[in-house]
């Protein structure tokens, strides 16, 4: 046990001391924190008219709608910036006006042009061409501005007084979606989807990163021949166990630091935003019970052990970094295939696909925690997932230990699958 401890200690300390670890550990929360603060800061003082201040409005109607749209777009316009330029054109000259405007946009004298026709007034069609045409939010804002302007004009025709118009048409209408699970109402739907997504992504990332880290560690020991010195002092299985546990502890350390500092930054968010003079919108934290935390930890431990032992087996069977890149493809494909399903399962966590992927050992360590974070999972599915993962873990560790023990001292040609099968059957 003292020797196993010495190996765990070495694996852990040598990794935690590296610049890469310190950078990633510090940078992670800073990055997350900036994700929380910067968008709010960027949004500050920005109004809907910004992207269209320099736009051209080609009004081919005779209703004067062009000027009204321009006025609506200018609301909250920063002082000193140009208002949209309205040009009333005859329908016959529209195509000529459009090509002139296109040139102006190309020469950066205008940001884009909006075409209002009789079809627009009927509520059928609206045309816009400009540099920001791919921005979904800009286009949606433009559409609703024009729509609201047309509605106002129609209401006016029906005799509604201009003073009443604003009262009637203005409505911010926020949607508060709440989720209902088997246990009743369960907080904001968005928050738990984000939380589950983060959990799944963190698990995926740490298994990929630290699994490959184990592989590289094994390969280093093999190529520098340190392995031979170590296995003359301890059994190969002890070295394997120490490596997997030590590297796993590094991954866990990093995650704990990330989670704690992120929670801390979310606490600090309100004062920071207030200090910058930005209105504070409420930010809801997911509810994490100790039971859920324990389950998440359990899935990480099993999932990491499963993949890390297989990565170690791969590392012991190759001789160079290039061979390793090739040989680990199957493992990476299993992980990426799982990651691809994170999104669909987030949207539909009770589908058959979700159920199957929570049982399969290669996807269970990522998909099951995701579903747990989303809400309740039937106990038998949870138990099935855990049992399947635990059993596969034992098989993976057993297989890996046998391949590792032989592979570590074999140099030269990369073994075929059949040769590796023979290694597994070697008595010792």
């Amino acid at each position: 046990m003292a020797k196993l401890w010495a190996i765990i200690k070495r694996e852990y300390l040598e990794r935690v001391r590296t610049r890469w670890f310190i950078f990633a550990t510090v940078f992670g929360p800073v990055f997350l924190g900036s994700l929380i603060i910067i968008p709010a800061y960027m949004a500050k003082g920005r109004t809907s008219s910004n992207e269209f201040t320099n736009a051209i409005i080609l009004d081919a109607t005779t209703s004067g709608i062009g000027q009204r749209v321009a006025d609506a777009m200018s609301v909250g316009r920063p002082p000193g910036s140009a208002a949209p330029n309205v040009r009333v054109v005859a329908p016959a000259e529209l195509s000529q006006a459009e090509s002139t405007s296109t040139h102006l946009v190309m020469n950066k004298q205008a940001s884009g042009y909006l075409v209002l026709t009789d079809q627009t007034l009927k509520g059928e069609e609206l045309h816009y061409a400009g540099r920001n045409a791919t921005s979904i939010t800009d286009m949606e804002r433009l559409r609703s501005t024009v729509k609201e302007t047309i509605i106002s004009q129609r209401l006016e025709k029906e005799g509604v007084k201009p003073a009443r118009l604003k009262e009637l048409t203005f409505m911010p209408l926020r949607l508060n979606a709440e989720r209902i699970t088997d246990k009743g109402r369960g907080g904001s739907g968005t928050v738990s989807i984000i939380f589950a997504g983060v959990v799944a992504f963190l698990l995926y990332m740490s298994i990929v990163l630290y699994g490959q880290n184990v592989l590289r560690g094994v390969l280093e020991e093999k190529t520098t021949r340190v392995a031979e010195v170590v296995v003359s002092s301890v059994p190969a299985e002890t070295l394997l166990a120490g490596k997997v546990l030590g590297v796993g502890a590094v991954g866990l350390t990093q995650q704990v630091i990330w989670v704690v500092t992120t929670l801390f930054m979310i606490k600090l968010r309100a004062p920071i935003l207030a200090g910058l003079g930005i209105p504070v919108t409420p930010f809801e934290l997911p509810q994490i019970s100790p039971w859920l935390a324990l389950l998440l930890l359990l899935f990480f431990v099993f999932g990491f052990t499963f993949y890390a032992s297989l990565y170690a087996a791969v590392g012991s069977s190759v001789n160079t970094e290039q061979e390793a890149q090739q040989a680990m493809q199957p493992l990476l494909i299993l992980l990426v295939a799982t990651a691809v399903f994170i999104n669909p399962i987030l949207l539909n966590p009770t589908s058959r696909m979700a159920t199957v992927m929570s049982i399969l050992p290669f996807s269970a360590p990522i998909i099951m925690p995701l579903r747990l974070a989303l809400g309740s999972v039937p106990w038998y599915e949870l138990a099935g997932s855990l049992v399947s993962l635990a059993l596969s873990c034992i098989v993976a560790v057993w297989l890996a230990a046998r391949i590792y023990r032989v592979g570590l001292l074999m140099y030269g040609k990369r073994p075929t699958l059949r040769e590796m099968g023979r290694w597994v059957r070697y008595a010792h």
Partner: protein, 321 residues
């Protein structure tokens, strides 16, 4: 038996496509320096790995100080220097040595004291520079070898196994290694080393074993081995090298069965029944300037060539280093 450090009894190891070691029996006396000689691929490294329990023999038994080699506790009494040396490249020298000591059950505090002693003894820690605080990557090749050697001896092992310890050493480090092996012997430790270099083995070893193609060719103490090969050999030195006349005489298979020509020095094995005095007379008659003509015991080198044969030698003796 208490007077044997290592007993290897009828050990065999077979891989998928070849037999690495065949029915090997060796008794290595306690407190001796033991040489394991043989060409590459002879099974030396496999034998060493089996002694260390890195791989298990398919058959036979190995006992170390009377204990089966598979007993986990016995590894703490063995120090091992593998043929291909390597250390964690990014690790600090002191930390790596402490790690190696801990793997042998030495507590970190005890290890720290010994590490300082060793670093000073091998001049890795001087008044100007303490290499113990450097990373392995920053060390020269010779320094790395010293660090690895410290790692082998840090836990004060009773049995020290060195696989090709002289390969790649410059003359100064080779001398230092030889001195250390002698020190270990004086302190009652047992040293086993494998080598291609017969001169080294002949000078340092108490006993040797020559193996080829996985089998023991001969073993025993250096004295016994040399005595049993008799004194049919002649050491001949000529000033200025061999003349044509001398070469002709040495090529006479009725007189000489084998010659090792080292330019000015010749080791000559007489043909069975040939008279050494006649050889001397004929060489002098050519007018060659003889500096030395002496009846000697065969060198280990000659014995090795004779017993292992040219084919095995060609594999092993080329490009060793």
């Amino acid at each position: 038996m208490a007077d044997h450090a290592v007993q290897i009894e009828n050990v065999g190891k077979r891989y998928a496509d070849h037999v690495a070691v065949r029915d090997l029996t060796l008794h290595i006396p306690k407190g001796s320096v033991y040489g394991l000689l043989g060409p590459n691929g002879a099974g030396k490294t496999t034998t060493i790995r089996m002694i260390l329990n890195i791989i298990a023999p398919d058959q036979g038994a190995i006992r170390i100080f009377g204990t089966p080699s598979s007993d986990a506790r016995i590894t703490d009494r063995i120090g091992y220097l593998p043929e291909e040396r390597g250390l964690y490249r990014k690790m600090q020298v002191r930390r790596i040595l402490r790690f190696l000591a801990e793997l042998k059950g030495v507590p970190a505090k005890v290890a720290d004291v010994r590490i300082t002693e060793w670093l000073e003894r091998l001049e890795l820690k001087t008044a100007e520079k303490d290499w113990g605080l450097s990373k392995i990557d920053e060390l020269s090749r010779g320094m790395k070898q010293k660090v690895q050697f410290i790692g082998t001896l840090l836990h004060d092992p009773d049995l020290v196994i060195l696989d090709e310890p002289f390969s790649g050493l410059d003359p100064i480090n080779a001398q230092a290694l030889k001195d250390t092996i002698m020190d270990l012997r004086h302190n009652g430790k047992t040293v086993i080393f494998s080598t291609h270099l017969m001169d080294n083995a002949e000078r340092i070893c108490d006993s040797v074993c020559i193996i080829a193609r996985g089998e023991k060719v001969l073993d025993g103490s250096i004295t016994d081995i040399k005595q049993s090969h008799g004194t049919r050999n002649i050491a001949l030195s000529l000033d200025g090298g061999a003349t044509n006349g001398v070469s002709e005489i040495l090529a006479d298979r009725k007189l000489v069965s084998r010659v090792d020509d080292s330019n000015r020095y010749f080791e000559i094995e007489m043909a069975p029944g040939a008279n050494s005095q006649e050889l001397l007379r004929r060489i002098v008659a050519t007018g060659a300037p003889v500096q030395r003509f002496e009846l000697v015991q065969a060198s280990l080198h000659q014995i090795f060539l004779e017993r292992v044969g040219a084919s095995g030698v060609e594999m092993g003796m080329t490009g060793h280093g």
